[in-house]
Symmetry: C4
Subunit: 196 residues, 4 copies
């Protein structure tokens, strides 16, 4: 349970996403599982492209900070939902891109079909398939939004990622690297859909 290693991976992911324009202002938030009861998560109100080690805190699966005076990200409960839902999830990355924002204001699911990069998503081994990334209406009541997501994922455990309308993408993986690669693959396919 070394805190420094996931923090460094999340800092590097944030720098890449900032370069891409996927974490404008204080948008986005990132976390990594530390063990069966705790996560490392970005603090509220900082810029996700310019994170320092001090911008992280440890929280439990109810989103409560452990031994930290800092406030966890506003959307911590969405991270907790994923860690509770599937013990194989080791990292969660939330990004705001122009492509996911524009598409999610227009569609109630983003259908991706025929892309080689679909193979980055969990359980997919061919381009010759089709995946629906669900779009949920935005809600400032994060507990309620988290319950909506959880109900969806219990009905459809194959959900590869999701988007909150006008807000952003939630993607995850076994570790930060895999979560980051899925963000890259999904944002690429979203950008293709936007240009198509």
């Amino acid at each position: 349970m070394n805190i420094n290693e996931p923090a460094q991976s999340l800092i590097a992911a944030g720098q890449l996403f900032h370069q891409r324009g996927w974490v404008p202002a204080t948008g986005g938030n990132f976390s990594a599982r530390l063990d069966g009861e705790r996560i490392l998560i970005t603090a509220s109100g900082c810029h996700k492209g310019e994170l320092a080690a001090s911008d992280f805190l440890v929280a439990d699966f109810d989103g409560k900070p452990i031994d930290s005076p800092r406030k966890a990200s506003y959307e911590t409960l969405l991270h907790c939902q994923l860690y509770r839902h599937d013990p194989a999830i080791g990292a969660v990355l939330h990004t705001h891109s122009i492509a996911n924002t524009v598409l999610s204001r227009r569609l109630d699911r983003i259908r991706l079909a025929g892309y080689e990069l679909l193979k980055l998503l969990p359980g997919i081994g061919t381009h010759d398939t089709q995946v629906d990334v669900p779009v949920f209406a935005n809600d400032q009541d994060i507990a309620r939004l988290s319950a909506t997501v959880d109900a969806h994922m219990k009905r459809d455990p194959q959900t590869p990622a999701y988007v909150i309308a006008g807000h952003g993408l939630y993607a995850w993986g076994a570790d930060v690297a895999q979560a980051r690669w899925r963000v890259e693959a999904l944002e690429f396919m979203f950008a293709c859909e936007l240009h198509a």
Copy 2:
């Protein structure tokens, strides 16, 4: 009244904006309030993405340089209008982006609704709202343009930012960080509107 700290923050903001393509050529200008009577502002004619400490000067609220041989930015009076209008404004950033230029040539206000990033704007706590960013016609008579802006802001004190048609965005905040985050949020939403 340390001059070095706001200068460094403005230099860093300029480097980010240059990377994004928001300060082409000698476009844009930046300032920060030093106290109740003076501001630090970029000098005329320099590239805002490659600023050095020597590219700033101190001016009073009439835009007159104090103890400096350098000429203040051509649009200093637009900065002064904001500092006079609201003592809570600590920094003003003006950017030229493709999105704000294209939209402002087409619209007389840019309506933003339903974006999570609206929460970055002053007094807004939900995505479930709508904000109008006014567009003013460009005018080489900056004193006259400044009076037009001032009259608008006195009528509508909730104005979150404004755009000059074919020219660029003016945004502000309590300090350089907050002003920069608002620029990032606004430019993101403008780019979404352009792609929508």
Copy 3:
């Protein structure tokens, strides 16, 4: 047969392509000819924008690793086809860009005409010509896809490069520099076609 030099050139090409967004996630793969029987190629599963020297392995022209525990890129046979086809080919670069992905999902060949940058392609000395970049349907059976490409190139030895639909570009040159320049030229023209 120095391995380090082509590896460094391929690492640098990957960094540029990553900056451009042409190697999302673990997409893309790169190789260079070492001699008449062997190539240096990126290992499977690594990020092509963040390559280290340890991410390469030596393989024969059947794609079999030589003295390496690492697995070669999934698409190694497509590289081998090119090295077998033309002994003048010294490097092969495969990229996933938004432009080549969107165009290849829409067209069965990408026709490029009138561009100055056509002069970067093999055997072309004027803008005043027209080139067809063939688009092949994607296929997870790489041996079969490789045979399809090979049959096409035997029929049309002037093929300057090719695209796999929804997947990406294969380009090549006498060395890594020339292959990289052709990728840059082709991606530029594809982006122009996308905007036209």
Copy 4:
């Protein structure tokens, strides 16, 4: 007549243009006036985003290398035309952007009106004007193309810059900085026109 200073400015301009995607492959070429008879110009066949001091050579106003074994850029005569035409021209920059390529394949002049950034162009002090950037048909006979450009500029000495169709922009200024700012301003306005 220090060669190092203009070389460093041209190298830095190339790095910025490369980051923007305006000098793909070996596209583009740059020069600076050394005195009334000689220019410093990029050698043929190198990448303009990765220039070293050794990638430049000195040439006379007929484009003939002076004391250099390297070949001058293919389009040197276009640079010479400008230095001969106006002794106030101190630097010439030629870029290939997606925006200038797409627009120049569609239009026989690019009309720019109402942009604040028009003020960067020679002799213009207001946004409230209109400028035509002429588009010339591409021609592999550079001497002939150079004569066409020269005839146009003699008829219209106010020509602020020009574009060769499907090829790229030629812009100039009193020094490298001014030429670079004009490229930035023109490319910005071209990108706005493309998005409009």
